[in-house]
């Protein structure tokens, strides 16, 4: 098991930037470390980025927390302590939105991973036209999510949309559906669009991981008479395990906070069926003009995301990965 872990964490770059850091530093200390003159130079190079980030991330973040402790109505703003949080945690609206977010994220990530892995495995075996296939399969990820969503609104249009036409002409549906107008279909539709949009990236990551698996492992297995399934089960999966954990955790975070597709396609409707947390934040802030409550939802969403962030951190720590 240990040797498997070693090969995976060495895979070309797909490992997060810091993991190789500690090793390279301890094996070869920076020669200039003793130079007094240069001691602060690194900070000067970092300063502009730190200043900009402090001003543009830390300040708004603090402001969001501060706002979440207020009741805001138009220009009026009163300090109410934790009232917004109490309200959210005791009414159905927030929990319902959290449930929609959980369903959306679970289904989308599951299919991103499943289809991404399948495509990566096949693409890894293809030689002819491989670049063409990769470029083409990655294209949905290059299209702006909001614009991709608009294209899909047209594809799913109830009367003249091509999806209704194709599905009914092959007999899958009996009559034309209003995809974005019925609660269950709307949720399914936005999930399909997100799967279309999000699968290519997972495929790309896993493809890079597959290319890092040493060929001789497969050759040895072939000599031993291992079947294709056995090779997948005992060589590919263990080698890819680390990357699968990293990719799925990251994907959970990115999918959970995704806004554009749903905002454009349904704006959270019909009757809240697709109102994931980010869309709820937007609607609360800019439709209901309730900045305080919107910020409180945002802080709660951040809390949920941080749980997965901690999971990601634990998974990517090099020492940790080798331990188990």
């Amino acid at each position: 098991m240990t040797s498997d872990q070693d090969t995976t964490s060495d895979q070309a770059g797909t490992v997060p930037a810091w993991t190789s850091r500690g090793a390279s530093r301890s094996s070869r200390p920076w020669r200039g470390a003793g130079l007094k003159r240069e001691r602060w130079l690194g900070y000067y190079f970092l300063l502009p980025a730190i200043l900009l980030t402090t001003a543009l991330i830390a300040t708004p973040l603090a402001r969001a927390f501060w706002t979440s402790l207020h009741r805001t109505r138009g220009l009026r703003s009163d300090f109410v302590g934790l009232d917004n949080y109490v309200y959210l945690l005791t009414t159905a609206e927030f929990w319902e939105s959290l449930r929609v977010s959980a369903v959306f994220t679970t289904v989308c990530v599951f299919f991103h991973m499943l289809l991404g892995l399948g495509l990566a495995l096949m693409l890894n075996k293809v030689v002819f036209a491989r670049t063409l296939l990769r470029v083409g399969l990655l294209a949905p990820w290059i299209v702006a999510p909001s614009l991709g969503a608009i294209i899909w609104v047209w594809l799913l249009e109830p009367q003249f949309g091509v999806v209704n036409y194709m599905l009914s002409s092959i007999g899958l549906i009996e009559r034309y559906q209003t995809w974005l107008g019925t609660p269950e279909l709307a949720l399914a539709s936005v999930m399909i669009v997100d799967i279309w949009r999000g699968t290519p990236f997972v495929m790309l990551l896993l493809l890079a991981g597959l290319q890092g698996i040493p060929r001789d492992q497969y050759e040895a297995a072939t000599i031993d008479g291992a079947s294709a399934w056995q090779q997948f089960r005992f060589i590919t999966l263990p080698n890819l395990r680390y990357l699968l954990v990293v990719a799925s955790t990251l994907d959970v975070i990115y999918t959970m906070r995704h806004f554009d597709v749903i905002a454009v396609m349904t704006a959270g409707g019909p009757i809240g069926a697709t109102e994931v947390l980010p869309v709820l934040i937007y609607n609360t802030a800019f439709t209901q003009n309730n900045f305080g409550r919107a910020s409180a939802i945002g802080i709660l969403l951040l809390g949920v995301i941080l749980i997965f962030a901690i999971f990601y951190l634990r998974a990517t720590q090099p020492g940790k990965a080798r331990e188990d």
Binding site: P140, S146, W154, L155, W196, F291
Partner: protein, 276 residues
């Protein structure tokens, strides 16, 4: 490993089916954009029209400030790219060349920012920018876009800078170059593929961003393409061929750039395990 030709053929069929499914929406956008208005609402729809024309594009340019949206997108995405890549190059150089004690903290902060939900920050951004009366300005958009783009850019560039041997810097300094000179004349040229990847990634992310400018611009003449196009969709009667023509204008340029430079982008993404 010997495989039967049947399996190979099957794999090809599955991959091409996937390719067709993935690309079909993009094809349908182009197909609709090229249809005359009369054909858009035909049932069954025409999959390959014989009457393709550019009418929808002309109509669009006549009735909409799509050129202005395009310019806005270009300015905001371009400005964001320049600002982020310049600051990220300095930061990545500082982190990979000097003993920076707070490095773990910085890495953790970068990671944290990468995971922040945009929807949480857009509320305070709106408040702060409205307070200083900077809504509808390029500057505020570039700054807000950069707040998210910069950590990504630093993250990716660290990977590229680290593989450039420090011996080269040291050799430069031995030859009497200053730190800035080695940065500019030694490291940056060597990191060029990385810089291209990061610049491209930043530009794409900024070009495609929706939420920021949805909230931070209220004046239609300041809309960027995604926001301007989304407002077209909200109208009482949607001219789908014009709407798809607008989408073509927004999507096709980046798809073209991406197709040409795909190699760089893929290298950059897999180097930093980044996602937009």
């Amino acid at each position: 490993m010997q495989e039967s030709p049947g399996i190979r053929l099957l794999r090809w069929i599955v991959l091409f089916a996937a390719l067709i499914i993935m690309l079909f929406p993009i094809y349908w956008m182009v197909n609709t954009a090229l249809k005359p208005s009369t054909q858009v609402f035909e049932s069954p729809p025409t999959f390959f029209s014989t009457a393709w024309s550019l009418d929808a594009f002309f109509a669009l340019f006549e009735s909409r400030p799509i050129g202005r949206y395009f310019l806005n997108s270009l300015v905001v995405a371009g400005g964001t790219t320049v600002l982020s890549v310049v600051l990220a190059s300095f930061a990545a150089y500082g982190l990979t060349r000097f003993p920076v004690r707070i490095e773990p903290l910085i890495i953790l902060a970068l990671l944290f920012i990468k995971m922040l939900p945009e929807a949480l920050l857009v509320v305070p951004f709106y408040q702060l920018i409205a307070d200083v009366r900077m809504l509808n300005s390029y500057l505020s958009l570039v700054l807000v876009y950069s707040s998210f783009a910069l950590p990504f850019a630093i993250w990716m560039l660290i990977g590229f800078f680290r593989v450039i041997p420090r011996d080269l810097d040291e050799a430069g300094i031995m030859d009497g170059a200053s730190r800035l000179q080695t940065f500019w004349l030694v490291v940056l040229p060597l990191a060029r593929p990385g810089l291209v990847a990061v610049a491209m990634f930043t530009f794409l992310t900024a070009w495609n961003a929706y939420l920021w400018s949805l909230v931070l611009t209220t004046d239609p003449s300041m809309y960027v393409l995604p926001v301007g196009i989304a407002t077209l969709k909200g109208e009482y009667q949607v001219h789908w061929n014009e709407l798809m023509a607008a989408a073509v204008i927004a999507i096709v340029p980046v798809l073209a750039i991406y197709t040409v430079l795909e190699r760089y982008l893929v290298a950059g993404i897999t180097a930093g395990a980044v996602k937009g």
